[in-house]
């Protein structure tokens, strides 16, 4: 039984709350399934619970589009899509059972398929949000090709609720693949990186590439023949399929560490100076690290590798979570937030101090 059959439009009530908060300049803390409270800086504010604003608004499989309210549980959406042989290309990170689609979009966190099939923002076709004045704004729409107005809808992905309270989201869908194979290779990361760099230059049906510290796991998804031919070509052993579900639900033991760093770097980068336990996902473009080194040292190493580091979990009061922005860029972020939230009530401080 889908809980999404519970369908309720709380848009008007939520708008009242935002208007009231704006009038009093009283910060709000937007909460969906409350599964990612650990993510981002610690903030104060009255809770704005959007989890009751739920339900599928429209789903037309032949259009490859679903429109849902932001509080709809991700699990319900995925179950419905699976029944129709479709899915979300970016493989959402499902951190807890209560995880909502709004939280997925606001955090912009994608799973193993991201390196091969695009990011959360690449799947967003349109959103309805409440701005910081409680006005209901619709950006984008339900069609893939749409260049009317600024792409404020894609901007909502990863904005941590700072630019609007997500009410409704239209997402582009992908047909589920006809075939899948899982391979494992007993090689270290250095060997794996060389191998992956070569593989990424070929047209292969890769949909996952992770090195867990001991072995390289590859996932192939696509047409029957393409997958079979690639598997025969790549060799290796049959890999455990469970690896991918564990990654997606952050159940891998390294990912459960109380203080966890996430480094986003070019997959070709070498990072030699940080001692710790690593898990390389996205063919090496996303690197998870458990490490006691000071934050500055980790951020510097990520910058030198042409990327950035996020203190994904374990930030204490006052810790910065995301890579600091250049002053001009930070000023632009502040002006942009002020443009959509003049009173500064939507999750202020969740991304950066002073934003």
């Amino acid at each position: 039984m889908l809980t999404s059959t519970v369908s309720e439009d709380l848009g008007a009530a939520l708008a009242d709350r935002v208007r009231d908060a704006a009038a009093r300049k009283a910060p709000l803390k937007i909460v969906g399934g409350n599964t990612k409270a650990f993510y981002g800086r610690r903030t104060q504010g009255q809770t704005l619970d959007v989890s009751g604003h739920r339900g599928i608004i429209a789903y037309e499989p032949s259009e490859l589009v679903i429109t849902t309210r932001a509080g709809t549980p991700l699990a319900d959406i995925e179950l419905l899509l699976a029944e129709h042989g479709q899915r979300l290309a970016f493989e959402p990170l499902a951190i807890g059972e209560a995880s909502t689609i709004g939280g997925v979009v606001a955090s912009g966190l994608a799973g193993s398929r991201r390196a091969f099939a695009g990011a959360v923002r690449d799947c967003i076709l349109g959103v309805t949000v409440l701005d910081g004045c409680g006005r209901r704004l619709r950006f984008g729409g339900t069609v893939f090709k749409n260049v009317a107005g600024f792409d404020a809808f894609r901007l909502m992905a990863g904005a941590m609720g700072r630019l609007g309270v997500l009410l409704d989201i239209s997402l582009r869908l992908t047909p589920a693949p006809r075939a899948a194979r899982f391979l494992a290779f007993e090689i270290d990361w250095a060997q794996a990186q060389t191998r992956l760099t070569a593989l990424l230059r070929r047209a292969l049906p890769l949909s996952g590439a992770v090195h867990d510290g001991e072995r390289l796991h590859l996932r192939l998804e696509g047409g029957q023949t393409a997958v079979a031919e690639a598997a025969a070509d790549l060799g290796g052993d049959a890999g455990p399929p469970g690896v991918w579900e564990d990654l997606r639900h952050m159940r891998h033991d390294l990912l459960a560490a109380p203080r966890l760093w996430r480094l986003s770097v070019p997959h070709t980068s070498a990072i030699d100076r940080l001692e710790g336990r690593w898990l390389m996902n996205w063919a090496g473009a996303e690197r998870w690290l458990v490490c006691d080194a000071p934050a500055d040292q980790i951020r510097t190493a990520a910058r030198e590798a042409a990327g950035h580091a996020t203190l994904f979990r374990g930030a204490l009061d006052g810790d910065e979570v995301f890579e600091p922005l250049e002053p001009d860029l930070m000023a632009l972020h502040q002006r942009l937030a002020a443009a959509l939230d003049p009173a500064g009530v939507l999750n202020p401080g969740r991304m950066y101090e002073g934003l």
Binding site: N146, A148, Q224
Partner: protein, 499 residues
């Protein structure tokens, strides 16, 4: 016509001291980098939407990103509006000069800076032609996926500004999905590095916001694009239909069957006959519509999927299904489609290309409604579609020398766009709002939404100097042209379900 800016409905700026502006710009531009005579500036008076014309105040031709930055800073200081221009192939008047503006042409920034086949990226200047990137990447068996019809002549900076699509974007995405970093100069002369070499970057996703912002937020001076491995095999199929409606139904059925073609294009009778006469693609000229479907990937998978597509087309009533026998025939199929626009020049003195998107399943209804509008406005319409993603390009045929025909074409175009909005679509799929669709923005967006766009623009460009009068209408303009035109209490297209 909309190429005349209206002080009551469009932004206005104080008169500038021209001598002072020229002196300031001469100081930052190369000796041949500033054009000031009407004769020299004539080639910049319009872009690909040639019906709209206007001379700029001056034309600046920087050779470097730094010269572009200094040009912006000078204009900011003197409160002079500025319009950026790439190759000038845009179809919505986005590079139409604003009266008295400095037109900043990025065409001299035309170098491919580096290609990294291991990271699968290319760093290029904004004036590099779209196709030149794929050509430079070809020795590495890589390519740049977005391929607008104008790809031999359009530049990557303009592609980013417009979020250009192409015939293969159903599978490979739009420009926004295929770029990783931008260097942007703001109106006040600051250099911003947006995005990066990693798959994401800290802070807001400004890459997404900049892409498709039509020169209103900043000037792009460098682009890093993502390159993809070239598919091993590609095959194409042509299906002919005796009724356009059947072709539309086949499109929905193909996507519904879980097949994502690399390209899925449709042309109606008028368009396919013109294209055939022009390109000799081998199209069946007795058909009312043809569908072109290209699949790429592994050979056996393509063969199986092509068989499914052929079966779907036959079930939908195709009168003929033809597989391209070889690479030469496949390329010929596409040559006809890519030549569809120039082919129109052979059958009408002028054509006006419309660019709406609709939900795929509404295709048959919308085609019928366009036929009705064509008849009631007394102008023929040829239809070319990126059918896979519901992006329509109705081509309105007219003769600019006949009094009133251009105005009628403009009115008919507006009516078609409002039809697209009415069925849940959008006024522009890939050509941009530019100047052309500035009034229809008021049909698609509420006053609050227009205000939000204006606020976003102000966060980047506090004086509103960048590309004024384009893409985001003033509230005064929306008050004048209102939400959907309601005539005598009747909503347009009342017989269509609304979304």
């Amino acid at each position: 016509m909309l190429d005349r800016f209206d002080p009551k409905l469009d932004p206005t700026f104080a008169e500038t001291n021209r001598a002072r502006l020229i002196a300031r710009l001469k100081a930052v531009l190369p000796a041949d980098g500033l054009l000031a005579t009407a004769e020299a500036m004539r080639v910049y008076e319009s872009d690909g939407l040639a019906a709209y014309r206007g001379l700029p105040g001056l034309v600046a031709l920087p050779r470097t990103a730094e010269e572009a930055r200094l040009t912006l800073a000078a204009c900011h200081e003197l409160d002079v509006p500025l319009v950026a221009r790439g190759a000038g192939t845009g179809l919505s008047g986005g590079a139409l000069p604003f009266p008295g503006c400095v037109l900043l042409s990025l065409s001299r920034l035309n170098h491919i800076l580096s290609i990294d086949p291991y990271a699968r990226t290319a760093r290029v200047q904004p004036g590099v032609f779209n196709l030149a990137i794929s050509e430079a990447a070809a020795p590495h068996d890589l390519f740049y996926a977005p391929d607008p019809s104008s790809q031999v002549a359009c530049s990557i900076g303009g592609n980013v500004a417009e979020n250009a699509g192409g015939v293969h974007c159903l599978k490979y995405g739009l420009t926004v999905h295929n770029i990783t970093a931008l260097e942007v100069m703001t109106m006040d002369g600051r250099r911003l590095q947006i995005g990066g070499q990693a798959l994401d970057s800290p802070g807001f996703d400004l890459m997404a916001l900049m892409t498709g912002s039509e020169g209103l937020l900043g000037v792009i001076t460098e682009v890093t694009v993502r390159l993809l491995p070239r598919p091993i095999h590609a095959r194409a199929l042509l299906a002919a239909f005796a009724e356009v409606r059947c072709g539309g139904e086949a499109v929905a059925a193909i996507i519904g069957a879980g097949i994502i073609p690399a390209g899925l294009e449709m042309m109606d009778h008028l368009a396919l006959v013109a294209a055939e006469t022009y390109a000799h693609a081998g199209y069946p000229t007795d058909a009312q519509a043809i569908l072109l479907c290209e699949l790429d990937g592994s050979e056996a998978d393509i063969a199986a999927e092509l068989e499914s597509v052929a079966e779907i087309c036959r079930s939908a009533g195709a009168t003929e299904v033809r597989l391209a026998r070889d690479e030469a025939e496949r390329l010929r199929f596409w040559a006809g489609r890519k030549g569809a626009f120039p082919a129109m020049g052979r059958i009408a003195p002028d054509y006006y290309c419309i660019d709406g998107t609709i939900p795929r399943r509404r295709l048959p209804d919308v085609l019928e409604a366009i036929g009705g509008l064509s008849a009631s406005h007394g102008l023929p319409v040829a239809n070319v579609f990126h059918a896979g993603d519901g992006n329509l390009h109705p081509l309105i045929l007219y003769d600019a020398h006949k009094p009133g025909e251009m105005d009628r074409a403009e009115v008919l175009g507006g009516a078609i766009l409002e039809l697209c909005v009415a069925v849940g679509g959008t006024i522009t799929g890939e050509h941009g709002v530019g100047r052309e669709k500035i009034n229809q923005m008021c049909a698609q967006f509420s006053t609050d939404e227009i205000e939000a766009f204006a606020a976003i623009k102000s966060a980047f460009d506090d004086k509103g100097l960048l590309n004024p009068g384009k893409a985001v209408p003033t509230l005064a303009r929306c008050a004048e042209f209102g939400a959907m035109h309601v005539h005598k209490g009747a909503v347009p297209f009342a017989h269509l379900d609304r979304l």
